[in-house]
């Protein structure tokens, strides 16, 4: 349903059952990145936000621990240290010019939010309070630093609410529960230019074409390619998948972050902020094992390192529990007061979902698929790239769906809430600038044809395959073979599975044939994106024969800067259904931008 009265006839016509709208700026996604962009664009250009969820349901709301900014409110800090930590944390695959922007603009990004009303926790002097987080250090790695601005363990909730509140204030047009399923490209003088998007209205089953001068993708991540994940059911990577199907590149897709502390067996996240407040990881014998792996910052080492150590502890028989298959997050020494005031939500999650009380018992945890470092390549202006350097005019991406790249091969905690604010704002501003002089690109004939074909194909299919069965096979296989540790063999196996699943997907059918609120149908569409993206992840991972950040190859355990200090760029080319992925995925490289920091060995 639309949330505001955007259906005035002036900007809305119906042709052959398809609704047509015109906006200067169309933003796809109403999470943190999309709404931050909308707050910039809305007051200056005719703007619409299209979202498959009501804005406040977006997964930004699940973020817990904090948002980094070197405010130096509680101890000495500066944005250069933050830049360095981001680059080192990303194992030197970070574009350093982008990291500088991230760290520098962080300060205003936090102040913007505070000024918009975000209720941050406060210091005794009434300033924004800050806590420790993994990989954020004082003076280039000397000791952990308090850099994460937070609101209890509900920072993402507060960001999402605050941004939505401000969108209400600015009267932003929302099209809620509209699923964008295609980007419309028009061939202009031999070059494909974006001219709009096509959305499926969940409530009616009708198609809507939104013609726009500027389009911003802010569709979030795709953690649902994995079984054990902190991501929502709806994080199926639609936006990234749409870009992929258009033949535009995806960058660094092999780098997926596994967050160390997911509730064992469930994947529900317990924030790193718990360790920031002093919680400790222990193996079955109670040993604080991180001391052995990262003697300086121990439990506050970056996530890739901690996740690997946990898996290794378990692999070597030191796991806890009846099946020795998890480790413990010990918060018992923090006391009820700290848990109830600074970490209330995760305390409740452990109680509700595992029946474990963190005040008195250690909590069983294991790594959970958490964050896509890769995605739609953009420059620092959030403009989408069609190759290593060429911008697609009028097309922008921001947030988890984008790859700037500020996270390189491993994102530091609290840098994503920062990313969505800094680059969401940039995307909104730059789109406004762009539409001031740009004209509408004409729509091609019947721009909704492809989506109609996709939807009707699934709705009318008499096939025998079920979405839930295929999805489960994909997710199980990705957890088993493409998780924290990977080898050529394991990746080859999952490649084969994905190919088979993609073949079976052609034969998928849904039971709900109706038009209204057909979530059965949408789950089938989402599965299509998951299968495409999983294939790119695995294919890119197989090609990177080194270990770096979130990508750990057991068969190539070292980082190899000589050959691989560069970004992967994957392109769809050829028949998407050819049996061998090599026949439809072309890989290329893109250099890493290095400004000040030469790669060093990554020790903590």
């Amino acid at each position: 349903m639309t949330q505001s009265s955007s259906f005035d006839s002036a900007d809305h016509t119906i042709v052959d059952g398809v609704h047509y709208h015109q906006f200067d700026v169309v933003i796809v996604g109403a999470g943190g990145a999309g709404m931050r962009a909308a707050i910039e664009a809305g007051p200056h250009a005719k703007t619409a936000v299209i979202s498959k969820l009501y804005p406040t349901r977006s997964h930004t709301g699940a973020a817990q621990g904090g948002m980094a900014a070197a405010l130096a409110n509680v101890e000495e800090d500066n944005w250069e240290w933050h830049t360095f930590d981001t680059i080192k944390g990303g194992d030197y695959l970070v574009d350093q010019d982008a990291a500088e922007i991230l760290a520098k603009e962080a300060i205003d990004a936090v102040l913007d939010l505070e000024n918009m009303g975000l209720p941050f926790n406060r210091t005794p002097e009434g300033k924004i309070d800050q806590r420790r987080f993994g990989g954020h250090t004082r003076d280039h790695g000397k000791a952990p630093v308090r850099r994460a601005c937070y609101a209890a363990d509900r920072t993402g909730h507060m960001i999402l609410q605050t941004l939505y509140q401000n969108c209400v204030k600015h009267g932003i047009n929302f099209f809620n529960e509209y699923y964008v399923l295609d980007l419309v490209m028009t061939n202009v003088d031999g070059v494909d230019q974006p001219s709009g998007v096509v959305a499926y209205d969940l409530s009616t089953g009708e198609l809507h074409v939104f013609q726009a001068k500027a389009i911003i993708f802010a569709t979030g991540g795709f953690g649902k390619i994995y079984k054990t994940t902190s991501n929502a059911h709806t994080l199926t990577g639609d936006g990234v998948g749409i870009i992929w199907r258009k033949g535009l590149p995806l960058e660094d897709m092999e780098f997926f972050q596994f967050h160390p502390t997911g509730l064992a067996g469930l994947g529900i996240l317990l924030t790193e902020g718990a360790r920031g407040e002093g919680a400790i990881l222990r193996n079955a014998s109670g040993e604080r094992f991180m001391e052995r792996y990262a003697p300086t910052i121990k439990d506050l080492a970056p996530r890739d390192i901690v996740a690997r150590c946990m898996v290794q502890e378990v692999a070597e028989g030191r796991g806890a529990g009846p099946n020795k298959d998890y480790v413990y997050l010990d918060c018992t020494h923090l006391g009820a007061e700290v848990l109830e005031t600074k970490l209330p939500d995760i305390t409740e999650f452990a109680r509700t979902y595992l029946g474990v009380d963190p005040v008195t018992e250690p909590v069983p945890v294991m790594p959970t698929a958490h964050y896509a470092m890769g995605g739609i390549p953009t420059n620092v202006n959030a403009e989408v790239l069609r190759d290593n350097t060429t911008v697609v005019p009028g097309l922008y991406a921001a947030g988890e769906c984008a790859c700037v790249s500020v996270h390189g091969s491993n994102r530091l905690g609290t840098n994503s809430l920062l990313d969505i604010n800094v680059f969401g704002k940039r995307a909104g501003n730059n789109a406004v600038e762009y539409v001031k002089t740009a004209e509408f690109t004409p729509l091609p004939k019947d721009p909704a044809a492809a989506v109609r074909g996709l939807i009707d194909g699934i709705r009318n299919s008499t096939g025998t395959e079920r979405v839930s069965v295929l999805r489960k096979e994909l997710q199980d296989m990705m957890d088993a073979k493409a998780q924290v540790f990977r080898t050529d063999e394991s990746l080859a196996e999952v490649t084969q599975t994905i190919h088979t699943l993609r073949e079976r997907y052609k034969n998928v059918a849904v039971q709900d044939k109706g038009r209204r609120f057909n979530t059965d149908l949408l789950e089938a569409v989402e599965l299509g994106f998951l299968l495409d993206l999983a294939e790119v992840v695995v294919y890119s991972a197989r090609n990177r024969k080194e270990s770096r950040g979130g990508h750990m190859r057991d068969d190539y355990p070292n980082r190899d800067d000589e050959t691989y200090m560069k970004h992967t760029m994957a392109y769809l080319s050829g028949d998407p259904h050819s049996a061998d992925a090599a026949d439809h995925i072309r890989l290329d490289w893109k250099p890493v931008t290095v400004t000040r920091y030469q790669p060093m060995e990554r020790k903590y």
């Binding site: 204030k169 079984k227 849904v510």
Partner: protein
Amino acid sequence: MSTTTIAADRPGNADPAITPFTVTFLIRRFDPEVDEEPRWQDFDVEMYATDRVLDALHKIKWEQDGSLTFRRSCAHGICGSDAMRINGRNRLACKTLIKDLDISKPIYVEAIKGLPLEKDLIVDMEPFFASFREVQPFLIANKAPEGGKERIQTVAQRERFDDTTKCILCAACTSSCPVFWTDGQYFGPAAIVNAHRFIFDSRDEDAKVRLDILNDKEGVWRCRTTFNCSEACPRGIQVTQAIAEVKQAIMRGKP
């Protein structure tokens, strides 16, 4: 969250004595393209004690009847998508564990009340969000903070409105309110909670406007203090107390 959560996978539940059992769900179905009236349909589902009602709905949708329709996203009580009536009480399906329900009888699941029914467990949320928007749910502060920095707020001032910042707009409170059921114009508890969040924020300069809005005949005075809302809130917000505080503020003419 794993797709289907099987208790045996879970730590602490590896006890072989824990085995799945069959639970009967009675779900109030409504297909707007076919049905004149909602109808109850029963499903038997294999469940573990630590499974959530949301897991049951997924199992039904994924294994038995793909047309069963409901909203959900985060699956751990954060996004506010899946408020529904479970055994007559408003709850989030993702936060309601089977072990906390009486499974000797069927478990009744139906859409929340007071908002137009769209399909199965989905209602039209638009009237709910419209009330929310009406209370001016955003910080109104015209003075720029000093030095281009953050506004100063003491720990105690921040604490004053902490409870009402937790709202996830799931509508469990509003749609449990008997006044809201009978009077569609009433703002409802969630909108008042969100007004409270700003009225008592020391940085806000326009409490007066919101107090005036809520002093309206469809405002706080409709509340009959039945406490349904506080009981329904999955975030543990003391909703009735928040409403009482807004009433007092109206009488004082200031927060």
